[in-house]
């Protein structure tokens, strides 16, 4: 494969996917124990998209995320302890507990950021990319969105503007077959959302969203193109949401045979098998243990962190001083 990552980097991609999966499972347990608040959108089964795509970026590149962003956050390098603390509403969270799991941002690592409005971050991503272009910064914006967001008007406006001005922006459509509970065939006039790229005069590429190396390669190509000033690319990563829309989803709309058909395509065991062949079972077991320890530490850090004091609310509604 062209530009294939080294085996060490592949091991790290695997480890990060495993961190995300274990984090999601921990959130599921905490939710059942009543220790999390509000609906939480887990990305079980989709880890390869977020981890593979963000690994193709530089630290100074920007990621805009979605309501289902845990793999994007971990991939871009957010500290898992501070991430978990944010999800638990703690003062030590990346946003001091003000955002919650849908609105995680971490400027230090280029995550700006999570967005709970479907498609709402796409116009923002256009502005971020515009700033890179106008300021002659050699950076790109990677905008994640889903097949649900692909049906919102803001998505069309953003794709057209970014293509028109050749902005350094990568549109990554994470096609998991469902917008909330409704199957994509009941939401979209086309099955392949990458085909819409033609209408904007930009490259569109379909990639196996459950293959972390394929996602990484496609994103690296798109980011290089964007850095060369040739404009945006639309990548459609075909994947599947193994669980419900959120922790409050009662299910009943994902046919069991559909879930069963996707289960063998789970990106994590498949990558594990590949790495066992390349690096041996012992190395993979060590990666698993490392991921488990990281998540255990993150959960413990969050649980022992303080809740914010209500003095947080006294700062007033405006930023003071000059812009």
């Amino acid at each position: 494969m062209q530009n294939a990552p080294s085996l060490d980097m592949q091991a790290e991609l695997y480890r990060k996917m495993q961190v995300v999966r274990l984090l999601e499972e921990a959130i599921g347990r905490l939710h059942k124990e009543g220790r999390t608040r509000g609906p939480i959108h887990r990305c079980d089964g989709q880890e390869a998209v977020g981890i593979g795509a963000t690994a193709a970026l530089e630290r100074e590149d920007i990621v805009t995320s979605t309501h289902r962003g845990h793999a994007h956050y971990v991939g871009k390098g957010v500290d898992t302890g501070r991430l978990m603390a944010e999800i638990m509403g703690r003062a030590t969270g990346t946003c001091r507990g003000r955002g919650g799991h849908m609105l995680v941002a971490d400027r230090e690592v280029g995550l700006l950021g999570g967005c709970g409005i479907v498609g709402g971050a796409l116009p923002v991503a256009v502005g971020q990319a515009l700033a890179f272009q106008v300021r002659r910064q050699p950076n790109v914006v990677l905008a994640f969105y889903g097949d649900g967001a692909a049906q919102i008007g803001a998505c069309h406006e953003a794709l057209n503007a970014a293509a028109l001005w050749k902005l350094p922006l990568v549109f990554l459509c994470e096609h998991n077959l469902y917008g909330l509970t409704v199957h994509a065939r009941a939401q979209s006039s086309v099955a392949d959302l990458a085909s819409r790229a033609v209408g904007y005069g930009i490259p569109g590429e379909i990639v196996d969203g459950n293959d972390v190396l394929a996602v990484h390669a496609a994103t690296a190509r798109a980011a290089q193109r964007a850095r060369r000033g040739e404009g945006p690319t639309l990548i459609e990563a075909k994947t599947y949401r193994l669980l419900g829309f959120s922790t409050s989803d009662v299910g009943g709309y994902q046919p069991p045979e559909e879930v069963a058909a996707w289960r063998p395509r789970d990106p994590i065991p498949n990558m594990a098998a590949h790495l066992v062949a390349e690096l041996g079972a012992e190395r993979v077991a060590a990666l698993d243990a490392d991921a488990a320890a990281e998540v255990e530490h993150a959960v413990a850090f969050a649980l022992e962190s303080p809740l914010p004091g209500i003095g947080e609310l006294d700062a007033g509604e405006y930023v003071k001083g000059a812009a």
Partner: protein, 328 residues
């Protein structure tokens, strides 16, 4: 001090800020080659180039979203939404992004952008190009809302808005662009969040914004011939509101009329009346009179259109009633 039209004063502020600060960029519909439908950005693309003065597609969500995204990455966008009637198309970006992100992201970003727009009835532009939606925007925390009534304030408030680290919605009025007035030369800044006494008086306070300030001044002129001394307060900034200046005036005059061009029900006048009720109730000799547009779409035909919005005669009548009630 030059005599300038309101549109020229806005142009002067924008030109001054763009020359002063290379991070200021202008974008919106028709702002580039054409210079804006109200000519506020006239000749700017020729001076600063199409990258800094950019014509956009008719994509209001992207215009507002670009202001959010570009401002968090170091630019100071001055975006234009041609009519305030189009602002609802980008309301998600104001309500769910601009208002939200600086706070919920834990102070990691500031959004120093200005969103210029204009509203107001009376030009025969019909129901979708004549509204006054300032109350809708002034409802949103974290965003400042400015409405200059005079050319001098148009210049000073726009320059201040561009230098402000917060999102500012800057609402102009289509009937004010051709009004003239003295405007300070060179750098001129008017502090956001400060009302002005447009005309001092002692019998009744008329609190107004934008073009209604001009109508209120006409009303005050007419009232003076009847021996009624009306004070006109131009609030200039709707959010954050300078309640102190209004309350101080009402405590002196004991009567108050609030007037806005937007719909009366749930409108900005309700916020003013409530503020006066909270802080000047014991000083009032009459109920606060509240004037606003009729709660209906703006009709096209001229007599119908003019009948839906407050004017000098109606403001004077309300002030007269307040003064009489105060004597009763």
């Amino acid at each position: 001090m030059a005599e300038l039209r309101y549109a020229e004063a806005l142009h002067a502020a924008l030109l001054g800020e763009m020359r002063r600060d290379p991070s200021v960029v202008v974008f919106g519909e028709d702002v580039g080659v054409y210079g804006g439908v109200f000519k506020v950005t006239r000749d700017m693309q020729a001076e600063f180039g199409p990258e800094r003065v950019r014509d956009t597609p008719i994509s209001e969500q992207v215009i507002a979203g670009m202001a959010v995204g570009a401002s968090m990455m170091g630019l100071k966008p001055v975006a234009e939404i041609m009519y305030i009637d189009f602002l609802p198309l980008c309301l998600d970006q104001l309500l769910n992004q601009a208002s939200v992100l600086p706070f919920v992201w834990g102070d990691q970003v500031t959004l120093p952008f200005v969103l210029r727009t204009q509203g107001g009835a009376g030009a025969g532009a019909g129901a979708q190009h004549s509204k006054s939606l300032e109350a809708m925007v002034a409802h949103i925390p974290g965003i400042k809302v400015v409405m200059p009534a005079t050319p001098a304030d148009a210049k000073g408030l726009l320059a201040a808005a561009i230098r402000d680290p917060n999102p500012v919605v800057f609402i102009e009025h289509k009937f004010l662009y051709n009004t003239r007035g003295p405007v300070p030369d060179g750098e001129h800044l008017v502090e956001i969040g400060k009302a002005a006494i447009a005309r001092p008086g002692g019998d009744v306070t008329i609190v107004a914004s934008s073009r209604m300030v001009l109508e209120s001044l006409k009303a005050a002129e007419a009232l003076a011939t009847e021996g009624i001394s009306a004070e006109v307060v131009d609030i200039r900034t709707l959010r954050p509101l300078d309640a102190a200046t209004i309350v101080e005036s009402v405590r002196r005059t004991h009567r108050c009329v609030v007037v806005n061009e937007g719909w009366r029900f749930g409108g900005y006048g309700a916020e003013l009346a409530a503020t006066i009720g909270e802080f000047a109730f014991g000083w009032l000799d009459a109920p606060v009179a509240r004037l606003g547009a009729l709660d209906m779409p703006v009709p096209y035909s001229q007599p119908l259109e003019l009948a839906t919005i407050p004017d000098a005669a109606r403001i004077a009548a309300a002030a007269r009633d307040a003064v009489r009630a105060g004597h009763g």
